[in-house]
């Protein structure tokens, strides 16, 4: 019998019931909740007179709707609908007795940053949230994926999900990354290679030297975008880097329980003889800093490239590429480094952690953003913000001309006041470049934090490696 993958092992440890046709009830260890996809689920519970099955495993935080401007501390949200959603979460958290980090709490932030930060996310767990970027938590070797509101209600009521097992896909990134290349470039490069539907039906395990060498922050960036490749979840096997990150966090196990947990976590890896349904390999040293040119995350090219011709694609993608290029206001053959930028956004569950801010600040130190540029940094949580202030990074951003904001999802999805206007072009560290994602007719180029910082300085998409050469002594 073939060995097991990491996914197989976590799956097997969480099957509470299996029907003859293979439909399983998968037990959920952590259920994260935010204000946008939960109100209808709590309403459903009330209407059926049901309780939350495991309130101690349910953690809520408002993030999508909340303003990130500094006057938020006054507790007011001007947009009435947003305020109602946040107030509904306040009430639901209280009524149903679940863990809660309200807007006023310094620990508030993007749900996928708060979970790991507080030690709620641990290796080997099953984690769900009514948000597609739940894949982020896979960085810990936890099986984590997004669900819809009906499933949110199902998990609230039963602490399980009705699931069928996905297939196993291995994405190996070998060797070392070159300077200026980051976790964001890896994850975009993978999607560029597999396409946005390449992972459909699979759970991806990322492995290889380049993945092992990443910090937890970098691993979260990689897994975060597994969903953009169509996968149900992304996973990275836990190791010393994982244990070091988890140890001592508020909700991490302690003492004898820590030892017991560690013993189990050390068994969480894919066996050498495990079966893979699909394998994709990238060479770490061949990955360049990348940007997106179109309106799908698969529209990825190295920064040294040019806008492609629609005719260079096949099938339905020819029309899609034509539509994207028109929407983005570009011309086939145009150099990516000639694309001028109006706005820079650094933040989101993809790139709103401390390491992301450090990487951007390293490029910005002692420099100013281009005249007329609108630039903002939105830390992923109140604690990331506090740490960046302590490290002096906040001041680097402020001195360079960035706005230094409070924590939230902000311009990643623009449900809050942070939005692009029609035709405004943004270099963004977020995860989706869909039409209208950052604002009606807004234009998004996805980049790493370092690349975003470089674009803020020059006012155009820029190869960050040129700036790194400038900063280094000869």
């Amino acid at each position: 019998m073939a060995g097991k993958t990491l996914y197989d092992k976590i799956w097997d440890a969480h099957v509470a019931h299996e029907s003859e046709d293979g439909t399983c009830l998968l037990y959920i260890d952590r259920h994260l909740v935010h204000e946008v996809t939960s109100p209808q689920a709590f309403e459903g519970l009330r209407m059926a007179n049901r309780k939350v099955h495991a309130p101690d495993k349910t953690i809520a935080v408002p993030d999508h709707n909340v303003p990130t401007t500094l006057d938020r501390v006054s507790g007011k949200i001007d947009n009435e609908e947003s305020r109602i959603q946040v107030e509904a979460l306040d009430k639901n958290a209280k009524d149903f007795g679940i863990h809660y980090y309200p807007v006023s709490d310094v620990r508030q932030g993007i749900v996928h940053i708060v979970g790991p930060e507080q030690g709620w996310t641990l290796p080997g767990m099953t984690v769900v949230c009514g948000d597609s970027h739940t894949a982020t938590h896979g960085a810990f070797g936890a099986l984590a994926h997004g669900i819809g509101t009906s499933e949110v209600e199902h998990v609230l009521a039963t602490q399980t999900l009705i699931q069928k097992k996905s297939k196993n896909m291995k994405v190996e990134v070998t060797g070392k990354l070159r300077p200026g290349v980051t976790a964001k470039d890896i994850t975009l490069a993978v999607i560029g290679k597999t396409g946005t539907a390449g992972g459909t039906g699979y759970v991806i395990e990322y492995c290889g030297e380049a993945i092992r060498d990443l910090s937890m922050e970098g691993r979260m960036t990689v897994c975060n975008m597994a969903i953009e490749g169509g996968a149900r979840a992304g996973l990275i096997a836990p190791d010393e880097t994982t244990y070091d990150y988890v140890k001592g966090r508020p909700h991490a196990p302690k003492g004898a329980q820590w030892e017991a947990a560690l013993n189990w976590w050390k068994t969480l890896y894919s066996d050498d003889d495990a079966h893979w349904d699909k394998v994709v390999t990238l060479k770490g040293e061949e990955i360049e800093p990348v940007v997106t040119w179109g309106t799908s995350p698969e529209d990825v090219l190295p920064i040294s490239a040019v806008v492609p011709a629609p005719e260079s694609f096949k099938g339905g993608k020819v029309d899609a590429a034509r539509r994207s290029i028109e929407y983005m206001g570009l011309t086939a053959g145009q150099k990516l480094t000639d694309i001028e930028i109006d706005t820079v956004f650094i933040g989101s569950c993809t790139n709103g952690r401390i390491e992301d801010l450090r990487a951007a600040a390293a490029i910005l130190k002692g420099k100013k953003i281009k005249d007329g540029m609108r630039a903002m940094v939105v830390p992923g949580s109140g604690l990331v913000r506090a740490q960046a202030e302590e490290e002096g990074i906040a001041q680097v951003f402020i001195d360079a001309g960035f706005e230094w904001r409070l924590a939230g999802c902000s311009m990643c999805l623009a449900m809050n006041p942070d939005q692009l206007s029609e035709g405004e072009r943004c270099a963004s560290t977020s995860n989706r470049n869909f039409e209208g994602r950052q604002g009606y007719k807004g234009r998004t180029h996805l980049v790493s934090p370092a690349m975003a910082a470089a674009a803020a300085i020059t006012g155009r998409l820029t190869d960050v490696r040129e700036m790194m050469a400038e900063n280094e002594p000869a």
């Binding site: 009514g130 819809g148 509101t149 199902h154 602490q159 009705i162 039409e435």
Partner: protein, 201 residues
């Protein structure tokens, strides 16, 4: 949930690939705390100009497709966000069945929770259905869930796969939560065993 058994209706062609959930229902409409009433904003940014006027050449604005109940779509339909507002908007508009070569995972699951049947077919068959849909309101297709077939206006029929449990729930309009709670004993047994094996969770 409303039952889905057999449907004969107008199919609208949307050949664009990678139609994402931001296109299906833009985020400004996610601020609702209700499930209903989103149909008017389905495909909002493609369907209306900034003044709220209909864009004439958008498929669902054309007279022959305003009553469409089936959507024939390009590859990777429903990619992006997990927002169930997307199937809510589709169902509220009156669309009950979507056909594509592939769907994004979360969207696919969300459909079944809302009485919508997503059908995956090979490229050549989707192409035949797309052509049939282009004939407009005279071309009514028939979707038979029990028999697992979809039939064009000209009588050409294709078989499709559907998960047996999901089919059962759709045919009978069953509530998942009620079904799962019938297995409460298994959940309790699992919790007892897991509390011993992994007490730190």
């Amino acid at each position: 949930m409303e039952k889905f058994e057999k449907l004969t209706g107008i199919a609208a062609p949307m050949p664009l690939v990678n139609i994402d959930t931001d296109m299906i229902i833009p985020k400004v409409f996610l601020k609702t705390i209700k499930r209903s009433g989103l149909g008017v904003n389905l495909f909002d940014e493609m369907r209306y100009d900034r003044q709220g006027n209909e864009i004439a050449d958008f498929v669902l604005n054309k007279p022959q497709y305003r009553e469409a109940e089936i959507l024939i779509a390009g590859d990777n339909f429903g990619c992006g966000s997990s927002r169930e507002h997307a199937p809510w908007a589709i169902a509220d508009f009156g669309i009950k069945c979507i056909v594509s070569t592939s769907f994004a995972d979360i969207f696919f699951n969300n459909c079944f929770k809302n009485g919508i049947l997503p059908i995956v077919l090979p490229e050549e068959q989707v192409a035949v259905l797309m052509k049939d849909a282009e004939k407009g309101s005279n071309a009514r297709m028939t979707v038979d869930l029990e028999a697992q077939t979809i039939t064009t206006s000209e009588g050409e029929s294709f078989a499709f796969d559907v998960d047996a449990f999901k089919k059962h729930c759709l045919l009978n309009g069953l509530d998942d939560i009620g079904l799962t709670l019938e297995k409460q004993d298994s959940i309790t047994a699992f919790e007892t065993q897991a509390a011993q094996a992994r007490p730190w969770v």
